[in-house]
Subunit: 138 residues, 2 copies
DNA sequence: CTAACTGCAAAGTTTTTGCAATTGC
DNA sequence: GCAATTGCAAAAACTTTGCAGTTAG
């Protein structure tokens, strides 16, 4: 139920991973993070990436997103925000922050769940792909 | 961009899969569907399950959900509705239908995307798991 | 007849894990 | 020192695909 917490020790690998995620706006998958980390730390391994993604997520320092195709993506921006994804090219953007967050209390009342968070993702065609479609059909 | 459409032929396997999904409220994963189908059609294969899930989804007869852990789940209920998932046991329920759907046009204006749909999922602790926690900590 | 579909098994992806060596506190 | 962490490689989990045989229209 409640996670057994073991004493965390700092690691250069985990610090690097968090730094990369905080400076990336593309909601990357694990393998992209592995390749990116490798440019700065050539011997880092995939296992380390996966293990640290789990740790950082458990610590509440990153978000884990399950948006499409059953692939996990990661987000270093912990501010509450929503996502929007292109059905054509697959990119995932943030919805601009001026959007209001939904009120969870109404759902809590009718669902009998104790609610902690919610994820909202819009799906559509991004500006670039709208233009490409025009070009292709011309 | 636009899917090449080939002439579909009916198949007992696909019919069975759709029937199972329409009678299942648990948002199952492919492997569960494989086992379930196998009780009624013992020689059906995993490949057939995966291929037909793709076809049914392309046809717009089922929904593909990516809610947690990067695992795809399937939903035979095509009515618009939202989901709520337990962080403890992982179950995924429907949010009762009295909830209003969000208006997509506001996001369309500020995002420059042409929006087709959206997915909203709440995360929390279900009633059963709230009780189990009480028992365990007693 | 023939294109779509199937079962099977092999291959492809993605993620987890066991282990001996290393590292942070 | 010692538990947490790492790299590596093997294993596990999940999905796709090639192929020869079957089936729907």
């Amino acid at each position: 139920m409640i996670e057994k917490t073991k004493k965390l020790k700092s690691s250069r690998q985990r610090d690097l991973l968090l730094k990369i995620l905080r400076n990336t706006k593309t909601h990357p998958v694990a393998d992209w993070l592995f390749e990116e980390a490798r440019t700065q730390m050539p011997n880092i391994s995939r296992g380390t990436i996966y293990r640290n993604l789990g740790i950082l997520h458990d610590e509440g320092k990153i978000k884990e997103l399950s948006i499409r195709k059953g692939v996990l993506r990661y987000d270093g921006d912990m501010r509450k925000h929503y996502h929007i994804s292109c059905l054509d090219c697959g990119r995932i953007d943030d919805v601009p922050h001026q959007i209001n967050m939904l009120d969870e209390s109404q759902i809590e009342e009718i669902s009998e769940y104790q609610i902690y968070s919610h994820h909202l993702t819009f799906f559509g065609i991004c500006k670039d792909c709208q233009q490409n479609t025009l070009v292709n059909s011309a």
